[in-house]
Amino acid sequence: MTTRLMVGGGAGFAGDRVDAALAVAQDLATHTGPRYLVFETLAERTLALSQDPIARGEREQMMLRRLRVVLPVCLEAGIPLIGNFGSWNPEQTAEKIVSLCAELGCRIPRVAIVTGDDLLEHCSVEQILGLDLDAQPETDEQLTSANVYLGAFPIAQALDQGADLVITGRVADPALVLGPMISTFGLAETDWDALACGTLAGHLIECGAQICGGYFADPGFKDVPDLASVGFPIVEISDTFDCLIRKAAGTGGCVTERTVIEQLLYEIHDPAAYLTPDVVLDISGVSVTELGADRVRVSHARGKPRPDRLKATLCFNAGWIGEAEISYAGPNAISRARLAIDIIRARAARLDAGLPLRCDLVGVVSAFGCKAGLSDSITQLQTSLGALPGWPEDVRVRVATLAPQRERVAELLAEVEALYTTGPAGGGGVRTSIHRRITTAAAAVPRDLVSTALVFSKPLEGDRDVRISG
């Protein structure tokens, strides 16, 4: 079998390690043929959170830090970048990236923007709420965003037209990899098994290091070398529609049958029917073969015709959610912590009985710990306090609540801070945080409600904005 394309995974979520993609880009740059680097950075709530200008700004800065690391290598080596970076204003995102290239002294890239995921551009709120939803919003929740998971064909078209960088909004995560595969092989919309292979490849690398030993280690049971520099994945897709998973050269972590199987089933329900916009992926007969040296082959994905309807994620503003914590340590700490919880429950019942309340007991060693760190803390405590069956009690009371109004959340959580003078003995380290609460629902969207468009930031002669039906 011959490798037809390589796709590297540069990020598995918006908060992923910023420097990890460099090793992937450098690895890809040492090869020839079609190579791509993809970034999955759009979690379910990111679009709704992006309505807050501060959150939006932070997200944009993170995206630019990510790209700063890899743009010089990728533009030099001819490795197109694909990312679902366009959460707010993709045209503006494209401009920022172009400016960054100028600042870095790189060649100015040809940037393509895939739009059409935002249902609110074409549909009324009533129309959207009238769709088939998996969960009905509560009466005081307001719809703030509704985005369809688009498929891979618009990405492929952008690549066919020479894009160096493809910015999308909401797309199915595996589409970031399937797009390059469609472009490389020239796949048709009904090449179900091939589309399944590309979707599987995307599913395997979309969570970054999770297939390379990240989120896998369990000391003494599943040991992973050098997680501090864990590698991010590269998938090689062959002409026989096999996927070879490996990690960037010179990195930590490991790629084994076990790491691959855990990722294979990650967030899967029925293995015979993983629904995506482009194909229904069947992994029930997939084989996983360890080839050694952190290389694993995954074969025999099957495809079935794509679903009639697309999935959209709807986000709702749903008031405020808050947490407050306080610690108790040493003799009888758990009893004191439980007393604190009893007090909070009694106060909450008097203050605002309607609010939901959740109380937890958290902890191993923190309050008595020393600056030097966990192991030193445990050793020191065992030395200074004599023989202990393990370590002293050290628990943290956690109180969480939510309400449509921020003040109600704040008032209830103030009761945790008030434990400083009114609660059990020896409470300390109160922390409180209150955040906007954004709830989500999934909607099934008929394809004819969706129209996708492709726009180039730097049009060439002969370019035309392409409208693609759903």
Binding site: E44, I261, V286
Partner: protein, 115 residues
């Protein structure tokens, strides 16, 4: 010939990863030793998992099996307090719940306790 069985947490004989979508949790379970597969098939049933998660009031458990990978996939409904965007829990995704599954016990032949 009788086999001597030992009762161990699943954690000794299998590994797992949890994922969430809305209020639905999935947990993969993969046997370390291929010879353990029939023992897990027999003992880690939908009913056993349903009972193991009873504290979180699941509305249903579906088990999918991939024998060629010695892997099962459990889909557990309504155990995430409404899901990541609605839950008041510390771990709103339910990511730690793979280790709740691995806390269930199984009885297996002692000689198969190799990883």
């Amino acid at each position: 010939m009788s086999v001597s069985l030992v009762e161990v947490p699943l954690h000794q004989v299998a590994h797992a990863r949890a994922g969430d979508k809305g209020n639905r949790l999935n947990i993969s379970l993969v046997a370390y030793n291929p010879e353990l597969w029939p023992w897990l098939m027999e003992q880690v049933t939908e009913a056993v998992v349903l009972a193991g998660f009873a504290g979180r009031s699941p509305s249903g458990v579906k088990r999918y099996v991939l024998p060629q990978l010695r892997a099962m996939n459990f889909v557990i409904d309504d155990v995430l307090e409404g899901g990541v965007n609605r839950s008041l829990a510390l771990d709103r995704h339910g990511k730690t719940l793979s280790y709740l599954l691995l806390s269930l016990t199984v009885r297996v032949p002692a000689q198969l306790l190799t990883r």
